[in-house]
């Protein structure tokens, strides 16, 4: 990773659909160099995928989303990695983080309904033998995700013309 790699990531992080040609212009690089940098970043799994931030509330698709705080007993030789791998395999799990603080893992879960989400916790997550406790909080409203503000476009407060 050098400064050019960082600059490419900066631009992609603003807009994953930015054309290569525009990136090359904005960064003062040639097209080939930008393409090679992106290739390297993908191969090294620095860039994992390109996805939009979607406001699902504006679509037909209705999902229930929750954050689940999980306490687990770390396993000898594997620490938290083995249980994390197990939890990763559930398709309901959107994100999984190892946390500092009063609990160990934070899981972001989505499910088609409240009932199915509850079933996930009671039937699939809680029975895992190293899980010692869970605390589920439902998402009521999303204001901001991945740096994107929902429903409140930034207005330009500047005068249209100034000297």
């Amino acid at each position: 990773m050098n400064d050019k790699h960082r600059q490419v990531l900066d631009l992609l992080n603003e807009d994953t659909r930015i054309p290569l040609e525009r990136m090359a212009v904005m960064l003062g690089m040639d097209l080939k160099e930008v393409a090679e940098i992106i290739d390297t970043l993908e191969k090294d799994r620095v860039i994992l995928c390109y996805r939009p931030v979607i406001n699902w509330d504006k679509t037909e698709r209705k999902l229930v989303e929750a954050m689940i705080e999980v306490k687990v007993t770390p396993q000898r030789d594997f620490g938290f990695d083995a249980i994390a791998k197990r939890i990763n395999s559930f398709e309901e799990v959107r994100s999984l983080y190892l946390m500092s603080g009063t609990y160990d893992l934070l899981i972001q879960v989505t499910a088609p309904s409240l009932k199915e989400l509850a079933q996930f916790v009671s039937d699939r997550l809680s029975p895992l033998e190293t899980v010692t406790g869970t605390s589920t909080s439902f998402v009521l409203k999303r204001y901001k995700q991945d740096g994107v503000v929902f429903d409140m476009p930034d207005e330009d407060r500047r005068l249209t013309i100034s000297p």
Partner: protein, 391 residues
């Protein structure tokens, strides 16, 4: 009816040509503005928060005329670290209400009736007006695209007379984005010394330079400190336009004279703005000016994007290495700057500022600010393309 009460000297100064475009643009919905003259970043949170803390702490009183000492100390340290110039914070730094006040009181302190003020053009719109308000005679010195809008010593020399007293130097330049390389500054310094000129050096955009260029201050050239005032502020590099905070640094006697006007007319700049500016400099110093660097990098990308777009549109544009403006030529369209901007605004709803608003030598150009979101810039380029195709 009441016009007889107005001092004719005020009417002798024409209103800014920018004003007319502002009025037209104000009536338009979904106009895209390339006409702004300020950053599109909001002031970094810790800086805003320091102003809030100051209010909550009950800091609502006047400050010393010259500004709070910790801020003056940070300003002196900043100029020493970044621009290799040294000023005594106790006596050679004056905190002002924006760089604008600094320019006003500097000219009023230095200019006697009939003195000539040399102003390289195109330039920021206030210099000429402030020179007139001060009773001086503004003398335009043209700069040109074929010389990257640098001020050439021979052009300056040609305008120097026995009445020449002050030179206003402003690089990186608003509106052109031009910078002044060291060898050109040296030639100007030589002339200033030879003809005993005082230089007001407006360095408000000094932090915003690209392609590895560093804008040196003319005050750092041998023999120049005693005849130079540095004017700067927090609006551009620190994205603090609404705080209205600037400063001037000059030899003791000059600062004393400026303070005389400042103490009677302004008293002091807003205390909260001073506190915020102090934190902007302190945090900048401690972080290696990370926020400034982040903004500079973002401007630079959009600078390249705009230059590339104008090249594709067939508009000649020299490469500006400072500020956040480009100054393309629209001469080949056959339109005047004002006609071009007015039609572009009315027909395609894109706001640009006509070059002649910045002095007669700006005619044939338009000022375009790239401190605007990339998607807006791209839309503006599309609209300009359509507009050009109709000419």
């Amino acid at each position: 009816m009441s016009s007889r009460f107005i001092n004719p000297a005020i009417n002798a100064v024409p209103p800014s040509a920018i004003r007319r475009f502002f009025d037209i643009a104000a009536t338009m919905k979904d106009a895209i503005s390339l006409g702004v003259g300020e950053p599109d970043f909001i002031t970094p949170f810790p800086v805003r928060n320091s102003a809030i803390d100051s209010l909550l702490d009950g800091e609502t009183q006047y400050t010393a005329n010259a500004g709070i000492l910790p801020l003056r100390e940070e300003i002196a340290r900043y100029l020493s670290d970044r621009f290799d110039v040294s000023y005594d914070p106790a006596s050679e730094v004056l905190v002002t209400v924006g760089a604008s006040e600094a320019i006003d009181i500097a000219l009023r302190s230095l200019v006697q009736p009939g003195d000539e003020v040399l102003i390289p053009e195109p330039c920021y719109i206030s210099y000429q007006a402030c020179a007139l308000f001060a009773g001086g005679v503004p003398v335009a010195v043209s700069t040109r695209a074929e010389h990257q809008f640098e001020l050439l010593a021979e052009d300056l020399q040609a305008k120097i007379t026995p009445r020449s007293r002050v030179l206003i130097l402003s690089y990186p330049s608003n509106p052109t984005g031009a910078v002044m390389p060291d060898h050109q500054l040296q030639a100007i310094a030589d002339l200033a010394i030879k003809h005993d000129l005082f230089v007001i050096c407006d360095e408000i955009y000094a932090e915003l330079c690209y392609e590895g260029f560093h804008q040196r201050s003319i005050a750092s050239f041998p023999g120049m400190r005693e005849r130079t005032m540095i004017v700067s502020g927090f609006s551009k590099a620190f994205a603090m336009t609404g705080f209205r905070l600037g400063y001037l640094c000059a030899p003791l006697e000059v600062v004393k004279a400026c303070s005389r006007i400042h103490q009677y007319t302004i008293m002091c700049a807003s205390r909260q703005s001073q506190v915020a500016a102090y934190h902007a400099l302190k945090q900048g110093r401690e972080s290696g000016y990370a926020e400034v660097q982040k903004m500079r990098e973002s401007y630079d990308r959009r600078r390249r994007l705009m230059l590339s777009a104008f090249e594709n549109l067939g508009l000649d544009c020299f490469e500006p290495k400072g500020a956040f403006y480009t100054f393309p030529s629209i001469k080949k369209t056959g339109l005047s700057s004002e006609a071009f901007c007015e039609r572009l605004l009315k027909e395609q709803r894109v706001v640009c500022v006509p070059g002649n608003a910045f002095g007669a030598s700006g005619e044939g150009h338009i000022r375009c600010c790239y401190a605007t979101a990339t998607d807006k810039l791209l839309q503006a380029f599309d609209r300009i393309k359509v507009f050009l195709s109709t000419l």
